[in-house]
Structures are given as structure tokens and as C-alpha cells.
């Protein structure tokens, strides 16, 4: 499971860094390294870009896993360089950005957009498999999540926009319900698809979501 990110456009990063002459850069050694959006190489490239913009990069780090609670210790070790900076430019997913913002008084600026939680499906190819909706239906959909893999998140079968097994919004993307139907047929349980699903309950895990394990 990986948090899939994409670098923001240079103009947006530049705009967010307006007024900050001294910047500290933090990357992440886990997901953002794997997706090549915030690993060592990308952090060093960012350092060079910021220097070209006339910024002073007071230091940089690639935190092993930016979202976990060891991040605080990493930040404390680099306290000098961080205090010397006006802000921290974070090249991790939003979980890392959030983690850093809770342990630093300095402004934290994201350099990446977090797209989805995905799994690697062949080298370098990531896909979203779960939208964390709180009501898992995979047992009735042959392991393919229609909430995630159907563009409209439909629970009762395909829409009329599906064509030759592909999705209305992108002929490169599979129609989730065509695959679900095929797999249920292969499993000899296509009748499961005939079950009516009532409207989803969006109140199962209301936002802000949290849980406490006691």
C-alpha cells in the first residue's frame, strides 16, 4: 500500500514559497521515493530549482517514513537548519505534511499533491483499489471494488456508458462492472450481482474520521 503523489507545477510551488527566502526541504524515503516524487534525487533537484529562484536552502533531509512518529526525532536533530529557514517544503504525501506540521512551529508547504492510496500493479504502475468507504462490498463483487473502480461508484451494476468492456470516461480504463460480471461468472456465482444494494450510508464513518484502539 502506497500513498501515490504527483509533484505540483513549479509555478504553484513558487507561488506558495513567495516571501520565504530561506527554505528547508524534507523528502520521504518510503512512498514518495518509490513514486519518484520526493526521494533523494527529487529533493536534490528541488534544491537546485529553489537556488535558481534565488532562495537559500538551509538544509534538506529524506525522512525514512515521513508520516510516522519518528519524524519528530528527525526534525529535532536538524533543528538548527530548520530554525534557520522561513518554511519547510515537504516532498511527501499529505500524511507526512500533516505529521511535520504537528511537530514544527514553522510553516509547512506541500510540494506534492496526494492522489490516492494505491497498490503497485506491475513495475511503476500504481492503481487505486480501495477508497476506504467503510462498507466493504468486495465479497459480492469478486474482489473488485465498484466504489473505487467504477467512475460513478455504482453499486447495482454498470451504467449505459460502458462500451466493449471499457469506461465511458476513458477508453483505456476497464469498466469495473464488466470485470466483476466476468469474474462472478467464472466463479459460478453471477446471481450475486442480482442482489439489490440500497443507497450507501455515508454516516458510517463521518468526517473527521478517527478511531481509538483500546
Amino acid at each position: 500500500m502506497k500513498s501515490i503523489t504527483r509533484q505540483k507545477l513549479p509555478e504553484e510551488i513558487e507561488q506558495q514559497l513567495q516571501g520565504f527566502d530561506r527554505v528547508y526541504i524534507a523528502g520521504c524515503g518510503t512512498c514518495a521515493t518509490m513514486t519518484r516524487t520526493g526521494g533523494r534525487e527529487e529533493v536534490l533537484a528541488m534544491r537546485e530549482r529553489l537556488q535558481q529562484l534565488g532562495k537559500l536552502v538551509t538544509g534538506w533531509i529524506v525522512i525514512p517514513t515521513a508520516c510516522d512518529d519518528m519524524t519528530q526525532a528527525a526534525m529535532e536533530e536538524n533543528n538548527g537548519a530548520i530554525r534557520n529557514a522561513g518554511c519547510i517544503l515537504v516532498m511527501s504525501c499529505a500524511l507526512g505534511v500533516h505529521r511535520m506540521s504537528t511537530c514544527l512551529a514553522r510553516p509547512v508547504i506541500p510540494a506534492l499533491d496526494t492522489l490516492f492510496i494505491g497498490i503497485e500493479d506491475g513495475s511503476g504502475c500504481f492503481q487505486e483499489a480501495c477508497a476506504q468507504c467503510g462498507q466493504c462490498v468486495l465479497g459480492e463483487t469478486a474482489g473488485i471494488c465498484p466504489v473505487t473502480a467504477c467512475h460513478k461508484g455504482l453499486l447495482n451494476g454498470p451504467c449505459g456508458g460502458t462500451n466493449q468492456g471499457k469506461c465511458e470516461v476513458d477508453s483505456e480504463k476497464d469498466c469495473a462492472w464488466t470485470i466483476i460480471h466476468q469474474r462472478l461468472t467464472d466463479q459460478g456465482r453471477v446471481d450475486v450481482m442480482r442482489r439489490y444494494h440500497s443507497a450507501r450510508n455515508y454516516n458510517i464513518a463521518p468526517r473527521p474520521r478517527m478511531t481509538r484502539i483500546v
Partner: protein, 296 residues
């Protein structure tokens, strides 16, 4: 006041519906002209709901105009733009203003339209919307609360007889029937043999099926639909027939083909009626009906 369209469906005669596309803007003159032109020539007039996800004057607004002018509207409702509160509210409002027919649709994806950055809602799907209508008719809303005054609608849905693969669509069709659909208007059909096979499957269900007829205006349009419109397949002989029409005669050829198909569907009792879509060319719908031998 019961649904006149339901009476027509139950009469056993060949039923004709057509549709009106509301304008983008407040100039509704053309829409009113189309309503006046068609309201007495068909059993009911669909009014589209932001067709192809393009923002327009609303379906309910068009339906009110149909009612005011003495016609029988079918309110098209998609699940794309409203959550369950807004959908139920619209149904309550429609009922109070004399709208008695609803076509329940999932709705095209937002990104195929002209507001690509908008949020697609899809809080309900088409089967759930049909169930919602039946629940509102029973006097309670989706929250289980009592209504002070219930609705009553002739409710329908769509089906795509030429979809490939067809099996998942047929399961959805059956779920819509179970959810309360009384009638189906199909996606455009051109291959009557394939449609006859679909009707063999569909006929045992307790629903009325109106075959979708989209007017061809050129060979180019036929090819475009084959390449771009899911579930629409114009056979090569019809494409060739359109292409062979003399210059300036393609529209008349399209009218002739549509009329011929409708006449065959009726004469061979293949289905219960037709839904004629002359997207952008509503003024020729009477000519299509005349070509089909149905002008009254």
C-alpha cells in the same frame, strides 16, 4: 390526476414518445415551439436533464412548460447532479405541478460535459432512484419519515439492447424492473434483428418497451455514433444508404429510414412503442411519424 402516459401504455396501442432538449440560457422560445409542434402528435414528451452533462435550463422547467401547454411530460432525472435530498424534493415539486412521469437515469459522467471540474454526485443510482419513487408513493421518504402528501408517478428507465457485452446490462435491466420500472425507453437501435432477440428476452417482464429511434442526418453522423456513442451500432448497410443519398437529401433519407424502422416495429408488433430522438432537429419529428404512417 393520473398519468395519461400510463393510460397510453396500458391501452395496448403502439405508443409514441419524443423528446425536448432545453436551451442553454433563458431564451426558451425554440423549446416552446418544439413543445407546441409535438405535444399533440405524441403520447408523451421527455425533457432531457443536462443532456451529455452539459449545463442547461432544467428538465423540470421544460416539463412545467409541457404541462402548461396541455402536453404530457416525462421528467428525465439523472443521479449525477443531486443527492438524495435534492432528488426527493424535485419529485415532490414535480408531482405538485402536474408532472406524472419520470425517467430514472444514472446520468453521463461529468467529464463528458462542459463543466469538467464539477463534482459528480451519484449518491443514488438509477435502480435506487426507482425504489425511491416507490417509497415516496408509499408515503415515506428515504429517511423513513412520514410525508404530508405522497407522490404518484409512472416511472421508467433505459436499457441498451445493443450493448456489448449485453449480459451485465440485462442484469441491471432486471434490477430496474424489480425496483419498480414500468416502462423502458431504449438507447438507439438500428439492427432490428438484434432488437427482436432482445425483445424475446424482455417480453416476459411486466414492463412496456419503447424502442429508441435516433434520426440519422448524415453518413458521417452514423459513423461518429459507431465510434463514440456507447451501445449504438449503425449497421454498414444503413451507413451506405445514408452515404448514397443525393446531395442535400441526407436528412430526407434519415427521415425515411427512421419512418421505415418505426413502421416495421409497429407492423411486426416487435415492441410496445417508440421513443423518437431527433437531436437538434425536433421540427422534423412530425415528418418521421408521417413516414412511419403514424401521422394522426
Amino acid at each position: 390526476m393520473p398519468s395519461r402516459f400510463r393510460d397510453a401504455l396500458q391501452s395496448g396501442r403502439f405508443v409514441i414518445t419524443s423528446e425536448i432538449g432545453p436551451p442553454k440560457g433563458t431564451n426558451i422560445e425554440k423549446m416552446l415551439h418544439h413543445i407546441d409542434l409535438l405535444k399533440d402528435k405524441v403520447d408523451a414528451l421527455n425533457v432531457t436533464d443536462h443532456q451529455s452533462s452539459v449545463m442547461r435550463f432544467p428538465s423540470i422547467g421544460g416539463c412545467l412548460s409541457v404541462v402548461e401547454r396541455g402536453g404530457e411530460p416525462i421528467l428525465q432525472v439523472t443521479c449525477r447532479d443531486r443527492n438524495r435530498l435534492a432528488l426527493q424534493a424535485e419529485l415532490l415539486f414535480a408531482h405538485t405541478r402536474g408532472v406524472r412521469n419520470v425517467l430514472c437515469l444514472t446520468g453521463d459522467a461529468v467529464v463528458v460535459g462542459d463543466h469538467k471540474e464539477a463534482k459528480g454526485v451519484f449518491d443514488l443510482d438509477s435502480a435506487q432512484l426507482l425504489k425511491t419513487i416507490r417509497q415516496l408513493e408509499s408515503g415515506t421518504d428515504l429517511g423513513g419519515n412520514d410525508l404530508d402528501g405522497a407522490v404518484e408517478f409512472c416511472a421508467g428507465a433505459i436499457v441498451t439492447p445493443e450493448a456489448h457485452p449485453i449480459e451485465p446490462q440485462l442484469i441491471k435491466f432486471e434490477k430496474k424492473v424489480e425496483a419498480g420500472a414500468e416502462f423502458f425507453q431504449t438507447q438507439a437501435i438500428y439492427d432490428l434483428e438484434n432488437f427482436a432477440r432482445f425483445m424475446e428476452y424482455a417480453r416476459p417482464f411486466p414492463v412496456k418497451i419503447l424502442a429508441g429511434i435516433i434520426l440519422l442526418v448524415s453518413a458521417r453522423m452514423a459513423k461518429y455514433m459507431n465510434d463514440n456513442v456507447p451501445g449504438v451500432f449503425v449497421p454498414q448497410d444503413l451507413v451506405d444508404e445514408m452515404a448514397a443519398a443525393p446531395k442535400g437529401e441526407a436528412l430526407n433519407k434519415g427521415i425515411e429510414i427512421a419512418g421505415r424502422m418505426i413502421a416495421t416495429l409497429k407492423d411486426e408488433s416487435l415492441c410496445h412503442g417508440v421513443h423518437v430522438m431527433a437531436i437538434g432537429k425536433e421540427e422534423v419529428v412530425p415528418d418521421i411519424l408521417k413516414a412511419a404512417g403514424l401521422a394522426g
